[in-house]
């Protein structure tokens, strides 16, 4: 609860920075504030219901919100130069901070109204941010697409919430859960329609096939730091919401949605990996890979068990690795290059730091031991096999082999002898960030037990 206050406060502070003219000190203030927020989030365990029962801070939301704030801290570190070199610093950082508030709410909502609010706070800020390169056509396209698709998704979501309300007479998750587990009164059939509509709405947000079409275009067009934000924090928040909804609230009605998730999971794994193979733009490739990882996470949801804990570990590994990848892409763009596969050629000679960090990030995303991505995938596979979904595990294995192929295309390019020898200079602070993140990927992978809180 205090977490929400702190981050909102930071957002307001950054709006004031323009008026009171302390723009130079703003980013350090935000980062210190976020550090404090991590502390508050981590110790604020089980504060229970807050805001008149609208928000529930249980262990689940504490773990997810701490993760989100920690990634947000690293994100600001990564985007430091992005903010530094451009105008509208205060507006943009305020938007990002409010968006983080939305993400935190999504981990902790106890009421359908808060789910809607969380998604909207998160998304509206991002619609503006993804179009923030105003004179770039792709950025505008990205913003527009994201906005249109997002509105559709929200429409589905609201419709679903309305139907569920009609069937159960409540917005509160707990009441809905009781109503759906209570076998005495059969639920009206439109309750199930409502559940499916909510599923569609959330699927847009986590971008799983067939609701993923916006992702590649939006990821490619948006400024790279914003893309990084979308593929890490937004994804974590949306999955937190999805897990809370479907494994807690709608758990009793799993017959309705389990098959849908199963089909979407298989489709997501196959479509994303096959599409990723054909991308020449690395940012676009990462967009498809991020869709693919959503597919892996769906395996956990389909197989059941300790979904929250498993997905939190997987998301942590995924988020850190993608943050590295986007940080590297960001640095390459800052040096005035594009990010096609050909621009990665010879990166190892231009900047060993970037190349080695990128290699480790991609190896982790591809699921090579002993990195975080491997153990995450391993946990998912054991979960799937243990619960009798051997077929799903085999599909996942097959797609992760395809994954190796397209991730390694980038790796091979980076170490090729072709390409100019012009060095890319990166600042010490970015080196430090990359070092910390890479260490985190390794430590997460080697000592996964240190990171299981759920």
């Amino acid at each position: 609860m205090y977490l929400i206050y702190i981050i909102c406060g930071l957002g307001i502070v950054s709006l004031l920075a323009e008026i009171f003219n302390f723009k130079k000190a703003l980013l350090p203030i935000i980062m210190l504030g976020l550090l404090a927020a991590i502390g508050v989030a981590a110790v604020g365990e089980n504060t229970g219901l807050a805001f008149s029962g609208m928000v529930l801070f249980d262990r689940f939301s504490v773990v997810y919100s701490t993760m989100i704030v920690a990634i947000a801290f690293c994100w600001f570190w990564m985007a430091y130069s992005y903010f530094h070199n451009r105008p509208y610093l205060t507006d943009q950082s305020a938007l990002v901070l409010f968006s983080i508030v939305g993400a935190v709410i999504l981990t902790a909502f106890a009421n359908m109204a808060m789910l809607f609010l969380g998604i909207e706070i998160l998304s509206i800020a991002l619609y503006a941010l993804s179009g923030s390169k105003k004179n770039n056509l792709f950025s505008t396209e990205s913003s527009f697409k994201y906005f249109l698709m997002g509105s559709f998704a929200t429409g589905f979501l609201l419709m679903g919430i309305a139907l569920v309300y009609g069937a159960t007479g409540s917005f509160e998750l707990m009441s809905i859960q009781t109503a759906s587990t209570n076998g005495a009164q059969p639920l009206p059939s439109f309750f199930y329609v409502g559940v499916l509509l909510i599923l569609v709405g959330i699927s847009f947000k986590v971008s799983v096939v067939p609701f993923h079409f916006w992702a590649p275009d939006v990821y490619e067009g948006a400024p790279t730091p914003i893309t990084a934000f979308m593929s890490t924090i937004v994804k974590m928040a949306a999955f937190a919401a999805l897990i809370r909804l479907f494994t807690v609230c709608f758990a009793a009605t799993s017959i309705t949605w389990l098959v849908v998730f199963y089909v979407m999971c298989v489709l997501t794994l196959l479509v994303s990996s096959v599409s990723a193979v054909y991308q020449s733009n690395v940012k676009r490739m990462l967009a498809y890979s991020s869709v693919g990882h959503a597919g892996y996470i769906l395996i956990a949801i389909v197989s059941g068990g300790n979904v929250g804990g498993l997905v939190s570990y997987y998301l942590a590994g995924y988020a850190v690795a993608s943050l590295i990848a986007f940080a590297v892409i960001h640095q390459i763009e800052e040096s005035g290059r594009t990010v096609f596969l050909s621009d990665f050629q010879g990166l190892f000679r231009k900047s060993p730091w970037l190349a080695v960090s990128m290699t480790i990030a991609l190896l982790s995303l591809a699921g090579i031991p002993p990195l975080a991505g491997f153990f995450g995938k391993y946990l998912l596979l054991t979960q799937a096999i243990g619960n009798g979904h051997l077929a799903l595990a085999l599909v996942a294995i097959f797609t992760s082999l395809i994954g190796v192929y397209y991730y390694f295309k980038v790796i091979i390019a980076m170490y090729s002898a072709v390409g100019s020898d012009q060095n890319i200079m990166i600042s010490t602070s970015q080196k430090a960030l990359l070092f910390i993140l890479v260490t985190l990927v390794v430590v997460l992978g080697v000592f996964p037990d240190w990171f299981t809180f759920l």
Partner: protein, 490 residues
């Protein structure tokens, strides 16, 4: 603790070299020599019985039943010894290679590779074994990708995905067994053995294939060998040697340690098929080797033939076959390293791998030629060389198992002699195509690599008993438990 040191030391050394950047080669050589000393200490204090010694069992990932459980018995020890003996030689051999770019990265990767290899041979936890197994793949991939020859990107990626696919099959099989361990699921080798043996024939057969394909790709056994000749050819010689002399033993070791005792009924059911595949591979690879004009590919194919024989011998499930496999693994490691290194030396002098462009080297470089001949004879199993002991035992076991199988597999000695001696004749004898001044004989550094190999090849051929004694108890014990299980009424 010694086992932990053997794993941790190369990794520490690799990090030091990556950070220090200066004097990478010397540091790497020193590190590998320290590792060798540590392994010799281990051999001297090893008691040659069937027990697992120097074991360390630490909690690692408690929530998933995974432990950091390592230890050595006679079988592991011989392979650890092979790794630690060859590594300084491999590093020393790489010194002469023309200007390795970015040496600190190169030698760090080699040492990381050594860590993973030792790890594979000492791991006694299924998950840990898998981790080391995969970790061995990463450095060798980058060694081939960064310092390899033409068209390396495509070929090395094929190699990587091919072996990864096999490993993932193994991972699924491991996880399947893990779920069949009684009580709180565990990954330690004893629990996995019990879990595997408790399964009915059908499931054991499926698991057999999952494991066997993973190991067969690594060795490689026909028809899973298609990645091998290209990769050996395109890899830098150091990489080729790491792959052929040490890394393929991971596959053979996997069969001995993980496949056979885990799913004996599966082996009983399908072992004969695997044996036939291995023997077909022997003949097939020898036939191709006969018509090779590229000397690196020739040795690559000869390696497939040799490994096929080892694999066939393993599936006889007899003590002779297994002991033969043990000694042949050492011998093959030594000879294949020696052969590839001689070819590398010739390549440095003459910049060609095509045998028809060579000839008459003996007249200008008699020492090189003699050393080559001895190692080559070791490879084709002339009596009093290391290859003889191994091949004799292996063919013996096959003949005892079934006479036809033994006879076909025995072709390897004849065909091997034909293609190897033909290679010797083409490269070393005949009219010289070189002027004496453009082709120097062995330098001091080259001698210091090749002479130990020659000495070991001959020593192992004359007096292999001490090494055989190291693994004998462990081999007998493992076979005893398997046969004991097989004769039990089901």
């Amino acid at each position: 603790m010694l086992t932990i040191f053997l794993i941790a030391w190369p990794l520490i050394a690799a990090i030091i070299i990556a950070v220090v950047k200066q004097h990478a080669r010397t540091l790497a050589l020193a590190a590998s020599l320290i590792e060798l000393v540590a392994s010799i200490v281990m051999v001297t204090s090893f008691i040659p019985d069937a027990s697992i010694q120097f074991s360390v069992d630490l909690t690692w990932i408690a929530s998933a039943g995974i432990r950091f459980y390592i230890g050595v018995d006679g079988i592991s020890l011989l392979l650890v010894l092979l790794t630690t003996v060859l590594m300084p030689l491999i590093i020393l051999a790489s010194f002469t290679a023309t200007q390795i770019k970015n040496p600190s990265a190169f030698y760090s990767l080699i040492l990381v590779m050594q860590m993973a290899l030792v790890g594979v041979f000492v791991a006694l936890d299924g998950f840990l074994f898998y981790i080391f197994w995969e970790m061995a793949l990463i450095p060798i991939y980058f060694i081939c990708l960064l310092w390899g020859g033409d068209d390396r990107a495509r070929i090395t990626l094929k190699f990587f995905i091919y072996t990864l696919a096999g490993s993932l099959l193994m991972l699924i099989a491991m996880v399947y067994l893990y779920f069949h361990t009684p009580g709180m699921h565990r990954f330690d080798i004893q629990s996995l053995y019990e879990a595997g043996r408790a399964l009915p024939v059908g499931e054991q057969s499926i698991l057999f294939w999952a494991f066997f394909i993973a190991f067969a790709i690594k060795m490689p056994v026909f028809p899973f060998h298609t990645w091998q000749p290209d990769t050996y050819q395109v890899a830098p010689t150091t990489g080729t040697v790491l792959l052929s002399a040490i890394m393929l033993k991971m596959g053979i070791y996997g069969v001995i340690r993980w496949l056979m005792p885990m799913v004996p009924l599966g082996v009983q059911e399908w072992g004969i098929t695997a044996m036939v595949l291995s023997v077909v591979g022997v003949v097939y690879a020898s036939a191709i080797a006969l018509v090779q004009n590229n000397n690196k590919r020739l040795i690559a194919y000869s390696s497939i033939a040799h490994v096929g024989l080892i694999s066939a011998g393993l599936f006889t499930m007899s003590a002779i076959g297994w002991q033969g496999a043990m000694i042949q693994m050492l011998s093959h490691g030594l000879t294949v390293f020696g052969l590839f290194y001689v070819i590398e030396i010739i390549h440095q002098r003459k910049a060609t791998h095509t045998m028809s462009e060579l000839g008459g080297i003996r007249s200008v470089a008699p020492q090189l030629s003699t050393v080559f001949l001895i190692i080559l004879l070791g490879s084709i199993a002339l009596p009093f060389t290391s290859g003889f002991v191994g091949e004799f035992l292996l063919i013996n076991s096959l003949v005892q198992y079934q006479i036809v199988m033994g006879a076909v597999a025995g072709l390897t000695t004849i065909l091997g002699a034909v293609y190897m001696l033909r290679a010797f004749q083409k490269m070393m004898l005949g009219e010289t195509k070189l002027a004496a001044n453009e082709f120097q004989d062995l330098s001091l550094r080259e001698k210091s690599v090749l002479y130990p190999v020659v000495v070991l090849v001959i020593l192992l051929g004359i007096y292999p008993a001490p090494l055989l004694a190291l693994s004998e108890a462990a081999v007998n014990n493992l076979l005893f438990t398997i046969n004991d299980y097989l004769t039990l009424p089901k």
